[in-house]
């Protein structure tokens, strides 16, 4: 049975439609991430699940029960807020046990729950402190502890890491993942950070303008995006979009890219990836999507079997990140980013031969931005 099922949920504020027919279903123990730019409706959806905002139409089921019109308290959920929302006048211990107290759990059980959670999150030494005396990371732990103490059916995390500094964020991300693996809880997690989404999720829902554009595993969303928005949103640096025209190549297809001031570039489209409706688009503009890692130095091995197509371009900017080097090179009408190994000795202005892994390239319609192949 689905732990959480959202069925055709709509939300309107006056004439503004914030959620347009959203449907999601996740199983018990799954980690669902709602990701998207600000204003896409992900927080509204989260509040709808929590019961903090009524939906305009549609239904929400938790563990098979229709909770659409139940109060937040009666839904058996817990939430970790972006600002942590720790009760400022209470100690950490009181913060964690407040929910249990409200549910009339006996004192001994409450104490046991606090100890268990404090132990789990390593905050036992902080139990008698007030939130104001805690650091950001500690507050974050207490906020999670408050949610964990009640052992609800579904956990909601609303951008829980966005107030932490970069290093702590990575640490806490790992901890959340560990916790999830250990406890097997059902989690809905809102973020605008695609790295968090990729690393944590079992299932990612990419949202935009109140719609779910794509719902799938991180691998699916990353490697098989449904449109240019999803493709561009997931991944950092983001996918390169190159204007090209689709041409016939002795029964197969090829992409012609015109770079001002340079030779034309022709990239053959791999035979095994030909889609049915490509024939209708012959000699029409299309968008070629290439991730930075789809480029590699000429002598490097490619991850997919295909040989890859060679192209040569002059390097505009070299950005070493330590682990690898990002190159900016003009290709078509724009600059693209390529990720090469840290040993690449190229300097700006030089020409470099790069292999393009066309086996992983993605083709989009230039008008609708939908995926073609």
């Amino acid at each position: 049975m689905a732990a959480l099922e959202i069925h055709n949920v709509r939300k309107e504020f006056g004439s503004e439609r914030v959620l347009k027919d959203v449907s999601i279903s996740i199983d018990s123990g799954e980690f669902l991430i709602l990701v998207g730019p600000s204003g896409c409706g992900k927080s509204t959806l989260m509040n709808a699940i929590a019961g903090l905002e009524p939906v305009t139409s549609g239904n929400i089921y938790i563990d098979g029960e229709d909770v659409t019109w139940r109060t937040p308290a009666d839904r058996d959920i817990a939430m970790v807020f972006q600002s942590y929302a720790l009760y400022p006048s209470m100690t950490v211990r009181q913060n964690i046990s407040f929910g249990l107290e409200m549910r009339k759990v006996p004192k001994a059980e409450r104490e046991a729950a606090v100890e268990r959670v404090a132990d789990l999150l390593q905050i036992t030494h902080l139990l008698e402190r007030k939130p104001a005396q805690l650091s950001g990371g500690q507050r974050q732990r207490v906020a999670m502890g408050r949610a964990l103490a009640r052992e609800p059916k579904v956990y909601l995390f609303d951008e829980p890491l966005s107030n932490l500094d970069a290093k702590l964020r990575v640490d806490m991300r790992t901890e959340i993942k560990k916790l999830h693996q250990r406890l097997g809880t059902t989690i809905v997690y809102v973020t605008h950070d695609q790295v968090e989404a990729m690393t944590l999720a079992d299932c990612i829902a990419v949202m935009r303008d109140g719609h779910i554009l794509q719902l799938g595993s991180p691998d699916e969303v990353y490697n098989n995006p449904v449109d240019m928005f999803v493709a561009g949103f997931m991944g950092s640096p983001s996918m390169n979009f190159i204007r090209a025209s689709l041409e016939d190549d002795n029964g197969g297809y090829q992409l012609r890219i015109v770079t001002p001031g340079e030779d034309e570039l022709v990239l053959p489209w791999p035979e095994e990836r030909i889609a049915a409706d490509m024939a209708e688009r012959l000699n029409q503009p299309v968008i070629l999507g290439l991730r930075p890692e789809h480029f590699s130095e000429e002598d490097e091995r490619l991850t997919s079997q295909a040989e890859g197509t060679l192209l040569s371009a002059s390097v505009a900017v070299v950005e070493p990140t330590g682990a690898d080097i990002l190159l900016r090179l003009p290709l078509g009408e724009q600059e693209v980013t390529a990720r090469v190994g840290p040993k690449c000795a190229v300097v700006a202005g030089e020409r470099l031969s790069l292999r393009v892994d066309m086996g992983r390239a993605i083709l989009f319609d230039a008008g609708t931005e939908q995926r073609i192949a």
């Binding site: 308290a73 939430m79 009760y87 400022p88 409200m102 408050r146």
Partner: protein, 292 residues
């Protein structure tokens, strides 16, 4: 701002000296009436008629104070302002507590439990801050009559509560707007209801604004004269009305020292409240304007 860098040139020092001079003069001028009142209240009557207003008392006496408290005539009776002083407390304390409580609940509901039209309700309540007292005298007298509490302490308390709610609501509403809504959401998810959230989450952090509301209401209601004179009977008059009667009762020689002593007695509670809690008043009014 202790660490502001300033140039210590002679001209700058002179300018600063002048600035302080002006400020000190202004402060002296401002406190002068209080000093004169205090001095006059401990002078015997003979010294007042002979000496100047600003001369120091030669033979200080507290007789005017005891007379003002227990013997001076206020209208027909001659038992001082002492009884009315306690009358004022009996009116002020319940009125302050009730109006602050209601204001806190209003502010909480208007910010954390928004409903359709809550902004309009707040705007209308705000309007209450600007209604002149005189406008409502007659309708209020009618209302008190209908309720059967005219000329009673309860009636006067009701009037002050009704007028105070506009201000206390404004105070608490503006304070609670600065408290994150997520706190309330978290408490809702934890299973707490309207009053529980107020009592356990909001109220414990409201100390600064409670101080503001109490001082404001205490001062307003204690100093009120118009409602006191309009809606009270002889035995329920607040001290401000008694003071007026005392000063206006003209039998024989005008006893300025007793008048001044009575005025000091009437003003003392608000002075004490402000001296004790003024620090928190300023702190509470600026709370939330700076994050931290």
């Amino acid at each position: 701002m202790a660490n502001v860098i300033r140039r210590q040139t002679p001209a700058a020092r002179l300018g600063r000296g002048l600035l302080y001079g002006v400020l000190i003069l202004a402060a002296l001028f401002y406190i002068l009436p209080l000093v004169v009142m205090l001095m006059t209240s401990v002078k015997p009557l003979s010294e007042i008629s002979a000496g100047s207003l600003l001369s120091f008392p030669q033979n200080p006496t507290f007789a005017p104070w005891t007379k003002a408290w227990g013997e001076a005539c206020t209208g027909m009776r001659c038992d001082g302002v002492g009884g009315y002083f306690w009358n004022s407390f009996a009116i002020v304390i319940p009125a302050v507590l009730i109006s602050t409580t209601i204001g806190a609940l209003n502010g909480y509901a208007l910010t954390k439990w928004r409903f359709k039209g809550s902004e309009l309700v707040f705007a209308l309540m705000l309007f209450g801050c600007f209604i002149p007292f005189q406008v409502v005298l007659l309708p209020m007298a009618q209302t008190l009559g209908w309720l059967g509490i005219s000329s009673s302490r309860a009636g006067l308390i009701l009037v002050h509560v009704v007028f105070g709610i506009a201000f206390t609501t404004l105070f608490f509403r503006n304070f609670y707007v600065g408290i994150p809504n997520e706190l309330v959401s978290a408490a809702k998810l934890d299973g707490a209801g309207f009053f529980r959230i107020f009592w356990r989450i909001l109220l414990p952090v409201s100390a600064p604004i409670i101080v503001v509301s109490v001082i404001w209401q205490f001062t307003q209601i204690w100093n009120d004269f118009l409602f006191g004179v309009a809606f009270s009977a002889h035995n329920t008059q607040p001290v401000t009305v008694a003071l007026n009667n005392l000063v206006n009762t003209s039998t024989g020689v005008r006893e300025y020292n007793v008048d001044m002593a009575a005025a000091m007695i009437a003003a003392l509670p608000t002075l004490v409240v402000y001296v004790l809690a003024g620090k928190y008043f300023v702190r509470g009014l600026t709370a939330g304007s700076v994050k931290g």
